[in-house]
Protein backbone atom coordinates (compact mmCIF):
# COMPACT_ATOMS: atom_id res chain seq x y z
CA UNK A 1 0.00 0.00 0.00
CA UNK A 2 1.51 3.28 -1.09
CA UNK A 3 0.75 6.33 0.92
CA UNK A 4 -1.67 8.81 -0.59
CA UNK A 5 1.04 11.44 -0.44
CA UNK A 6 3.31 9.40 -2.65
CA UNK A 7 0.53 8.63 -5.15
CA UNK A 8 -0.35 12.33 -5.32
CA UNK A 9 3.30 13.20 -5.81
CA UNK A 10 3.59 10.72 -8.67
CA UNK A 11 0.37 12.03 -10.24
CA UNK A 12 1.77 15.57 -10.16
CA UNK A 13 5.00 14.24 -11.66
CA UNK A 14 3.12 12.59 -14.53
CA UNK A 15 1.19 15.80 -15.17
CA UNK A 16 4.40 17.86 -15.10
CA UNK A 17 6.15 15.46 -17.46
CA UNK A 18 3.21 15.47 -19.89
CA UNK A 19 2.97 19.27 -19.78
CA UNK A 20 6.73 19.61 -20.30
CA UNK A 21 6.61 17.35 -23.36
CA UNK A 22 3.63 19.24 -24.77
CA UNK A 23 5.24 22.64 -24.23
CA UNK A 24 8.55 21.43 -25.64
CA UNK A 25 6.94 20.01 -28.78
CA UNK A 26 4.98 23.24 -29.31
CA UNK A 27 7.57 25.67 -28.00
CA UNK A 28 7.54 27.86 -31.12
CA UNK A 29 3.79 28.26 -31.10
CA UNK A 30 3.85 29.09 -27.38
CA UNK A 31 6.62 31.67 -27.65
CA UNK A 32 4.87 33.24 -30.64
CA UNK A 33 1.61 33.40 -28.71
CA UNK A 34 3.26 35.04 -25.70
CA UNK A 35 5.27 37.52 -27.75
CA UNK A 36 2.21 38.38 -29.83
CA UNK A 37 3.69 37.37 -33.18
CA UNK A 38 1.76 34.32 -34.14
CA UNK A 39 2.67 32.58 -37.33
CA UNK A 40 0.96 33.97 -40.41
CA UNK A 41 -1.42 31.35 -41.89
CA UNK A 42 0.28 29.05 -44.38
CA UNK A 43 -1.88 30.43 -47.19
CA UNK A 44 -0.25 33.85 -46.81
CA UNK A 45 3.30 32.66 -47.22
CA UNK A 46 2.62 30.09 -49.92
CA UNK A 47 1.36 32.58 -52.52
CA UNK A 48 4.28 34.90 -53.22
CA UNK A 49 3.49 38.25 -54.70
CA UNK A 50 -0.26 37.79 -54.59
CA UNK A 51 -2.37 40.57 -53.11
CA UNK A 52 -3.24 39.32 -49.66
CA UNK A 53 -4.60 40.80 -46.45
CA UNK A 54 -1.63 41.75 -44.29
CA UNK A 55 -1.55 40.58 -40.67
CA UNK A 56 -1.41 43.28 -37.98
CA UNK A 57 -0.79 43.07 -34.25
CA UNK A 58 -2.86 44.50 -31.42
CA UNK A 59 -0.74 47.66 -31.03
CA UNK A 60 -0.95 48.41 -34.77
CA UNK A 61 -4.71 47.87 -34.73
CA UNK A 62 -5.05 50.59 -32.09
CA UNK A 63 -2.87 52.98 -34.09
CA UNK A 64 -4.72 52.22 -37.33
CA UNK A 65 -8.09 52.71 -35.66
CA UNK A 66 -6.93 56.08 -34.31
CA UNK A 67 -5.73 57.15 -37.73
CA UNK A 68 -9.03 56.51 -39.47
CA UNK A 69 -8.85 52.87 -40.53
CA UNK A 70 -12.16 51.02 -40.63
CA UNK A 71 -12.46 48.04 -38.30
CA UNK A 72 -14.58 45.20 -39.66
CA UNK A 73 -16.11 42.46 -37.55
CA UNK A 74 -16.32 39.27 -39.63
CA UNK A 75 -18.26 37.32 -36.98
CA UNK A 76 -22.01 36.81 -37.11
CA UNK A 77 -24.50 39.47 -36.01
CA UNK A 78 -25.18 37.86 -32.62
CA UNK A 79 -21.51 37.81 -31.64
CA UNK A 80 -21.14 41.38 -32.86
CA UNK A 81 -24.08 42.46 -30.70
CA UNK A 82 -22.58 40.61 -27.77
CA UNK A 83 -19.44 42.74 -27.92
CA UNK A 84 -17.18 44.25 -30.58
CA UNK A 85 -14.29 46.64 -31.00
CA UNK A 86 -15.33 50.30 -30.68
CA UNK A 87 -16.33 51.71 -34.04
CA UNK A 88 -16.19 48.35 -35.81
CA UNK A 89 -18.64 47.73 -38.64
CA UNK A 90 -20.37 44.37 -38.81
CA UNK A 91 -19.79 42.41 -42.01
CA UNK A 92 -20.23 38.69 -41.25
CA UNK A 93 -18.50 36.43 -43.74
CA UNK A 94 -21.69 34.38 -44.04
CA UNK A 95 -23.76 37.46 -44.95
CA UNK A 96 -21.23 39.10 -47.21
CA UNK A 97 -23.25 38.71 -50.42
CA UNK A 98 -26.26 40.46 -48.97
CA UNK A 99 -24.28 43.10 -47.08
CA UNK A 100 -21.47 44.02 -49.43
CA UNK A 101 -23.41 46.54 -51.52
CA UNK A 102 -24.40 48.51 -48.44
CA UNK A 103 -20.87 48.27 -47.10
CA UNK A 104 -19.42 49.65 -50.34
CA UNK A 105 -21.64 52.71 -50.06
CA UNK A 106 -20.45 53.40 -46.54
CA UNK A 107 -16.73 52.75 -47.02
CA UNK A 108 -14.71 54.05 -49.94
CA UNK A 109 -12.12 51.78 -51.52
CA UNK A 110 -9.19 53.99 -50.56
CA UNK A 111 -9.71 53.36 -46.86
CA UNK A 112 -7.52 51.07 -44.79
CA UNK A 113 -9.58 48.13 -43.55
CA UNK A 114 -8.79 45.90 -40.58
CA UNK A 115 -10.82 42.70 -40.42
CA UNK A 116 -11.01 40.53 -37.31
CA UNK A 117 -12.97 37.57 -35.99
CA UNK A 118 -12.47 35.19 -33.07
CA UNK A 119 -8.69 34.95 -33.28
CA UNK A 120 -6.83 31.67 -33.10
CA UNK A 121 -8.03 29.16 -35.65
CA UNK A 122 -10.72 31.53 -36.96
CA UNK A 123 -10.14 32.01 -40.72
CA UNK A 124 -13.19 34.24 -41.38
CA UNK A 125 -11.36 37.56 -41.16
CA UNK A 126 -8.71 36.37 -43.59
CA UNK A 127 -11.34 35.03 -46.02
CA UNK A 128 -13.31 38.27 -45.71
CA UNK A 129 -10.09 40.21 -46.35
CA UNK A 130 -9.55 38.23 -49.56
CA UNK A 131 -13.09 39.03 -50.71
CA UNK A 132 -12.66 42.74 -49.97
CA UNK A 133 -9.38 42.84 -51.89
CA UNK A 134 -11.11 41.18 -54.82
CA UNK A 135 -13.89 43.74 -54.52
CA UNK A 136 -11.52 46.62 -55.09
CA UNK A 137 -10.33 47.60 -51.62
CA UNK A 138 -6.59 48.10 -51.78
CA UNK A 139 -5.39 48.12 -48.18
CA UNK A 140 -6.89 45.27 -46.19
CA UNK A 141 -5.30 43.98 -43.00
CA UNK A 142 -6.23 41.13 -40.69
CA UNK A 143 -6.02 41.34 -36.92
CA UNK A 144 -5.42 37.69 -36.11
CA UNK A 145 -5.68 37.98 -32.34
CA UNK A 146 -9.20 39.19 -33.04
CA UNK A 147 -11.86 39.96 -30.51
CA UNK A 148 -10.46 37.65 -27.78
CA UNK A 149 -7.05 39.32 -27.71
CA UNK A 150 -8.59 42.80 -27.71
CA UNK A 151 -10.96 41.91 -24.86
CA UNK A 152 -8.30 40.11 -22.82
CA UNK A 153 -5.99 43.11 -23.14
CA UNK A 154 -8.62 45.01 -21.15
CA UNK A 155 -9.45 47.34 -24.04
CA UNK A 156 -12.96 48.80 -24.33
CA UNK A 157 -15.63 46.61 -25.86
CA UNK A 158 -18.92 47.94 -27.22
CA UNK A 159 -22.15 45.99 -26.97
CA UNK A 160 -25.21 46.35 -29.17
CA UNK A 161 -26.44 45.62 -32.68
CA UNK A 162 -25.40 47.69 -35.69
Amino acid sequence: MKSLQRILFEAVLIAALGAAIGLAVNHRLISDAFTGKLAVPAAVTSVPGALLPQPVLLAEVRELANSGAVLIDARDFAQYADGHLPGALSLPLGEVEAQLAGFRQKVETGKTLVAYCNGYGCPDSFDLGMLLLKDGYRDVRVFEGGFPEWRDAGLPVVKGAR
Partner: protein, 148 residues
Amino acid sequence: MKRTGRISYHLCRLLLGGVFVWAGAIKALDVPVFAGQVAAYQLLPYAWNYAVAAALPYVELLAGILLLINIRIKPATLLVGLLNAVFIVVLLSVLARGLNIDCGCFGPDAGTTPLQALGRDAVLLALAVAIYRQQDRYVRSPVSPPED
Protein backbone atom coordinates in the same frame (compact mmCIF):
# COMPACT_ATOMS: atom_id res chain seq x y z
CA MET B 1 -16.79 -13.97 -8.69
CA LYS B 2 -13.23 -12.85 -8.25
CA ARG B 3 -12.46 -13.65 -11.86
CA THR B 4 -15.32 -11.52 -13.22
CA GLY B 5 -14.18 -8.71 -10.98
CA ARG B 6 -10.64 -8.95 -12.24
CA ILE B 7 -11.75 -8.96 -15.87
CA SER B 8 -14.06 -5.99 -15.43
CA TYR B 9 -11.32 -4.11 -13.57
CA HIS B 10 -8.92 -4.56 -16.48
CA LEU B 11 -11.64 -3.69 -19.02
CA CYS B 12 -12.36 -0.45 -17.16
CA ARG B 13 -8.65 0.34 -17.04
CA LEU B 14 -8.24 -0.25 -20.78
CA LEU B 15 -11.39 1.72 -21.59
CA LEU B 16 -10.37 4.74 -19.51
CA GLY B 17 -6.82 4.62 -20.84
CA GLY B 18 -8.03 4.27 -24.40
CA VAL B 19 -10.41 7.23 -24.09
CA PHE B 20 -7.62 9.46 -22.77
CA VAL B 21 -5.08 8.36 -25.37
CA TRP B 22 -7.65 9.03 -28.09
CA ALA B 23 -8.66 12.42 -26.71
CA GLY B 24 -5.04 13.45 -26.20
CA ALA B 25 -3.86 12.30 -29.61
CA ILE B 26 -6.57 14.12 -31.58
CA LYS B 27 -5.86 17.40 -29.82
CA ALA B 28 -2.06 17.02 -29.89
CA LEU B 29 -2.27 16.78 -33.68
CA ASP B 30 -3.80 20.24 -34.08
CA VAL B 31 -2.79 22.46 -31.20
CA PRO B 32 -3.78 25.82 -32.79
CA VAL B 33 -7.33 24.63 -33.41
CA PHE B 34 -7.56 23.24 -29.88
CA ALA B 35 -6.29 26.61 -28.61
CA GLY B 36 -9.24 28.23 -30.35
CA GLN B 37 -11.57 25.84 -28.58
CA VAL B 38 -9.94 26.52 -25.22
CA ALA B 39 -10.33 30.24 -25.95
CA ALA B 40 -14.04 29.73 -26.55
CA TYR B 41 -14.39 28.89 -22.86
CA GLN B 42 -13.31 32.50 -22.14
CA LEU B 43 -11.44 31.57 -18.98
CA LEU B 44 -7.84 32.43 -19.84
CA PRO B 45 -5.96 35.40 -21.25
CA TYR B 46 -5.05 35.17 -24.94
CA ALA B 47 -1.64 33.46 -24.90
CA TRP B 48 -2.44 31.09 -22.04
CA ASN B 49 -5.01 29.32 -24.22
CA TYR B 50 -2.09 28.20 -26.36
CA ALA B 51 -0.12 26.99 -23.34
CA VAL B 52 -3.04 24.89 -22.12
CA ALA B 53 -3.73 23.63 -25.64
CA ALA B 54 -0.10 22.55 -25.97
CA ALA B 55 0.26 20.89 -22.56
CA LEU B 56 -3.12 19.27 -21.85
CA PRO B 57 -3.21 16.77 -24.75
CA TYR B 58 0.18 15.36 -23.74
CA VAL B 59 -0.83 15.04 -20.09
CA GLU B 60 -3.93 13.12 -21.24
CA LEU B 61 -1.83 10.99 -23.58
CA LEU B 62 0.73 10.12 -20.92
CA ALA B 63 -1.87 9.25 -18.27
CA GLY B 64 -3.80 7.19 -20.84
CA ILE B 65 -0.71 5.29 -21.92
CA LEU B 66 0.18 4.44 -18.31
CA LEU B 67 -3.34 3.08 -17.82
CA LEU B 68 -3.11 1.02 -21.00
CA ILE B 69 0.27 -0.51 -20.18
CA ASN B 70 -0.69 -1.07 -16.55
CA ILE B 71 2.09 0.97 -14.99
CA ARG B 72 1.69 3.49 -12.15
CA ILE B 73 -2.05 2.84 -12.17
CA LYS B 74 -2.89 4.69 -8.98
CA PRO B 75 -1.16 7.98 -9.77
CA ALA B 76 -2.34 7.84 -13.39
CA THR B 77 -5.93 7.17 -12.31
CA LEU B 78 -5.74 9.90 -9.69
CA LEU B 79 -4.52 12.32 -12.36
CA VAL B 80 -7.27 11.28 -14.77
CA GLY B 81 -9.83 11.68 -12.00
CA LEU B 82 -8.54 15.14 -11.09
CA LEU B 83 -8.54 16.20 -14.76
CA ASN B 84 -12.12 15.01 -15.11
CA ALA B 85 -13.11 16.90 -11.97
CA VAL B 86 -11.56 20.07 -13.45
CA PHE B 87 -13.35 19.46 -16.79
CA ILE B 88 -16.64 19.08 -14.94
CA VAL B 89 -16.16 22.35 -13.04
CA VAL B 90 -15.22 24.15 -16.28
CA LEU B 91 -18.24 22.71 -18.12
CA LEU B 92 -20.51 23.75 -15.25
CA SER B 93 -19.14 27.28 -15.56
CA VAL B 94 -19.94 27.15 -19.29
CA LEU B 95 -23.53 26.19 -18.51
CA ALA B 96 -23.77 28.82 -15.79
CA ARG B 97 -22.54 31.52 -18.17
CA GLY B 98 -24.88 30.28 -20.90
CA LEU B 99 -22.09 29.93 -23.46
CA ASN B 100 -23.07 28.00 -26.55
CA ILE B 101 -19.75 26.37 -27.46
CA ASP B 102 -18.37 23.07 -28.64
CA CYS B 103 -16.76 21.08 -25.85
CA GLY B 104 -13.58 20.44 -27.85
CA CYS B 105 -12.93 17.36 -25.74
CA PHE B 106 -12.24 15.10 -28.72
CA GLY B 107 -11.21 17.62 -31.33
CA PRO B 108 -13.17 20.11 -33.42
CA ASP B 109 -15.34 17.64 -35.32
CA ALA B 110 -16.88 15.80 -32.40
CA GLY B 111 -19.57 18.46 -31.96
CA THR B 112 -20.40 17.65 -28.36
CA THR B 113 -22.50 20.10 -26.37
CA PRO B 114 -21.34 21.04 -22.86
CA LEU B 115 -24.23 19.06 -21.34
CA GLN B 116 -23.33 15.86 -23.20
CA ALA B 117 -19.70 16.36 -22.25
CA LEU B 118 -20.71 16.81 -18.63
CA GLY B 119 -22.51 13.46 -18.65
CA ARG B 120 -19.56 11.74 -20.29
CA ASP B 121 -17.09 13.24 -17.83
CA ALA B 122 -19.22 12.06 -14.92
CA VAL B 123 -19.05 8.49 -16.29
CA LEU B 124 -15.28 8.75 -16.80
CA LEU B 125 -14.85 10.11 -13.27
CA ALA B 126 -16.85 7.17 -11.88
CA LEU B 127 -14.62 4.80 -13.89
CA ALA B 128 -11.50 6.44 -12.47
CA VAL B 129 -12.81 6.20 -8.90
CA ALA B 130 -13.70 2.52 -9.41
CA ILE B 131 -10.26 1.68 -10.82
CA TYR B 132 -8.49 3.60 -8.08
CA ARG B 133 -10.40 1.76 -5.37
CA GLN B 134 -10.05 -1.70 -6.93
CA GLN B 135 -6.40 -1.40 -7.81
CA ASP B 136 -5.03 -2.93 -4.60
CA ARG B 137 -7.30 -5.93 -4.84
CA TYR B 138 -6.29 -6.98 -8.34
CA VAL B 139 -2.69 -5.91 -8.57
CA ARG B 140 -0.56 -6.74 -5.63
CA SER B 141 3.09 -5.88 -5.89
CA PRO B 142 5.26 -8.78 -4.72
CA VAL B 143 7.41 -6.47 -2.64
CA SER B 144 5.86 -3.42 -1.02
CA PRO B 145 7.72 -0.27 -1.97
CA PRO B 146 9.42 1.58 0.85
CA GLU B 147 7.14 3.96 2.69
CA ASP B 148 8.33 7.45 3.27
